[in-house]
């Protein structure tokens, strides 16, 4: 299809934002300022010819001024009036629920239902209809299912904040409990079982289209603080990614980021997406950290101006959230279709390149700066039935577990003792060996029948004076949880023998710290062992598959392929990981292996 770049602009009026109450105390001053911020955001979008979605907050439902304004702007500009589950705190809410909690996914089930019925009921009283969209930083499957059952008009929701987890917690001096790593970065249809996972079928379809809270830099946010690198102009200021130029502030990174999202149409059948959802706390008149109000306001205006410019050039379509949900469903008929992003560095000035992929069976990332090593892996196929909130095992941690996460769990290992989570390949010849993680390259994307293929530019490994030129090809079979990896020798080795070891070193969890691993079992074909931290191995020649079962994350990992020898290995207390390895010795050709994720338990 012709490339279509869709943008959602979302504003929420918060009449009792916590930040302002702390600075100004409670009362009219806070209400007036908050109202002014909302008006400023609305006026700025309209000035550049853009329509918005107004996400009405609980506090706003007690304000006739906001309700009248929303109705008026709906009539005049076509803005959608939705209902947010953010911005719950206000005197009325606190008096009724007797709590300082404010995150909908953290309440106990009964309170979640009570709050949802309360806000949806009040919304209906004020507007005479139920909303078609809602929002939060995170919405768990339980909450989505309840909303959809009781208020079927809802078809779109802001439902996660990409890679907001331990990194955000650490950046806020270990105080910000929004743990929601592991979800998709772009819109998806959430599963009824776990909202992080894209639905696999009509039966699994929760009935809404979810969108992320901000469109984030898929490289910078994987490493650093997510809230510094997104299409939230004030986040770019938070990251100090701006500079003064002849008395003006400049932040081309914001435009580059929006443009890279536009570029993703190349990998997604012509569709690309962006959103901006700036809370009022980021536009208050006292400034935010070292950024004065004038800079905060200018950056918001410039963000809208750029969207307006793209729209005027016919390169952008602004939609409300419910309009977008209809559009998304129209162009995403196939549940298995993977969301793809071949992402390049636009900040540090390096040649780094990641390939991000998400479908109903997995989310993963390949790093071509490390030869195409797998640096993140989430087993969506397991459909881990996480519940969140008080009274569950996950009071605040809503992250979807990883099997591989190189930044939390070391990745390619540089210390002298231990191992990090990563999937890569070691090459040995003439008594020397090298890991393809140390071969920097870039790759070409290709859509195949039933999947996607990434072909890395060949790299040269020099072992004992012999140059071995190797091409890596990665094929992901959509919706299956299967990745096929080929390592192909492309030069003449003159009969010299080379050994490939395709390996997977994994863990599981949502943070940097590994939980108990003694429930894990490992094996090759019929020989198995229970994980005991003794560093034991099972090695078999001519076997069919090596596997690891991890009950805690309902996942079975299997590897096999065209190889001579298969191995599994448990870790030790100092290095709590597990290893799978497939080996083959050749003098030409290469090794072709498969990795499969399966639901266990």
């Amino acid at each position: 299809m012709e490339n279509k770049f869709i943008v959602n602009i979302i504003h929420r009026p918060e009449l009792s934002p916590e930040y302002a109450e702390k600075a100004l105390g409670k009362g009219e001053g806070v209400r007036d300022e908050s109202l002014d911020i909302f008006r400023f955001q609305q006026d700025t979008a309209h000035k550049y010819g853009l329509k918005t979605t107004i996400q009405i907050t609980y506090a706003s439902l007690f304000s006739d001024i906001i309700i009248d304004l929303a109705k008026r702007e709906h009539e005049q500009y076509g803005d959608e009036i939705g209902l947010s589950l953010l911005g719950l705190p206000c005197p009325e809410f606190k008096a009724k629920y007797k709590t300082e909690d404010f995150c909908i996914w953290m309440f106990e089930e009964e309170t979640k239902r009570e709050i949802i019925d309360d806000v949806f009921g009040k919304f209906y009283e004020k507007f005479g209809f139920y909303p078609e969209s809602t929002s939060s930083y995170f919405l768990d499957a339980y909450t989505i299912n309840y909303i959809k059952e009781k208020y079927p008009s809802v078809k779109c929701a802001v439902a996660t904040c990409w890679e907001e987890g331990p990194k955000a917690y650490h950046t806020c001096n270990n105080s910000w409990y929004t743990f929601m790593d592991g979800g998709p970065w772009n819109p998806w249809i959430p599963s009824k079982v776990n909202s992080h996972c894209p639905a696999s079928s009509e039966e699994d379809d929760s009935g809404i289209v979810a969108i992320p809270h901000l469109s984030r830099d898929l490289m910078a946010c994987f490493d650093g603080n997510g809230s510094n690198f997104g299409t939230h102009p004030q986040n770019v200021l938070r990251g100090m990614i701006y500079y003064g130029d002849e008395g003006e502030w400049e932040y081309p990174y914001l435009y580059n980021l929006i443009d890279q999202y536009r570029h993703l149409a190349k990998y997604n059948d012509g569709y690309s997406y962006n959103m901006m959802f700036v809370g009022p706390g980021w536009l208050n008149r006292r400034g935010r950290w070292e950024a004065p109000y004038e800079l905060l306001a200018k950056s918001y205006d410039d963000g809208m101006k750029y969207y307006g410019k793209l729209k005027s050039e016919g390169k952008l379509i602004d939609m409300t959230m419910s309009e977008f949900a209809d559009f998304y469903r129209e162009c995403h008929k196939d549940y298995s279709r993977g969301e793809c992003a071949l992402w390049k560095d636009i900040l540090y000035g390096s040649r780094k390149e990641y390939f991000w992929y998400a479908d109903p069976a997995m989310r993963t990332c390949l790093d071509f700066n490390q030869g195409g090593a797998m640096i993140d892996l989430r087993p969506y196929i397991a459909r881990i039935p996480q519940q969140t909130g008080i009274g569950t095992e996950n009071v605040y941690d809503a992250s979807y577990p990883y099997l591989i996460q190189i930044n939390y769990r070391a990745g390619y290992f540089t210390h002298y003792a231990g191992a990090g989570t990563i999937k890569s390949c070691k090459v040995s010849c003439r008594g020397e060996s090298a890991d393809l993680c140390l071969c920097r390259t870039m790759a070409v994307y290709e859509k195949t029948d039933g999947g996607v293929r990434l072909t890395a530019d060949p790299v040269t490994v020099t072992l004992g004076g012999l140059d071995i030129v190797i091409k890596s090809v990665f094929t992901i079979l959509e919706g299956t949880g299967e990745v096929i990896t080929e390592r192909i020798i492309v030069n003449d080795l003159g009969g010299e023998q080379v050994t490939f070891e395709e390996y997977f070193t994994g863990g599981f969890g949502t943070t940097e710290y590994q939980a108990d691993m003694t429930h894990i079992s490992l094996g090759v074909d019929n020989e198995r062992m229970q994980y005991s931290y003794f560093g034991r191995r099972i090695v078999r020649e001519g076997a069919e598959r090596a596997y690891v079962n991890i009950p805690e994350v309902h996942t079975r990992i299997e590897m096999g392929g065209d190889c001579d020898e298969l191995q599994v290995e448990e870790g030790i207390a100092f290095s709590p990981v597990y290893h799978l390895a497939l080996r083959k010795t050749v003098s030409e050709g290469g090794i072709k292996t498969w990795l499969r994720l399966r639901k266990a338990n």
Binding site: T171, M240, Q260, W289, I346, Y445
Partner: protein, 86 residues
């Protein structure tokens, strides 16, 4: 001395910022310096501004505008950003 306060703007500790921690500093009116509650950083406003600038050393593409994302296996093409333009 009286208790410390926030400054006119709410400066973050530049030393902590460089290790990805956003932590507000407080101002010691007697010594006329900002200080961090977490690490040992102290400094004047001029010191903070200078170090905030230094923290940007890693953003080598910060002043560049993407011209073309290029072929998949080619790096991004940039040019110098022209002030006032988008």
């Amino acid at each position: 001395m009286a208790q410390a306060t926030k400054g006119k703007l709410n400066f973050r500790c530049p030393s902590c910022f460089m290790r990805d921690i956003d932590i507000d500093m407080f101002f010691d009116g007697e010594k006329k310096e900002y200080y961090c509650l977490r690490c040992g950083f102290t400094g004047s406003e001029a010191d903070v501004l200078r170090l905030n600038e230094a923290a940007r050393y890693r953003y080598r593409a910060m002043r560049l505008r993407v011209v073309d994302f290029g072929e998949d296996n080619q790096p991004v093409k940039f040019e110098a950003h022209r002030g006032g333009e988008q």
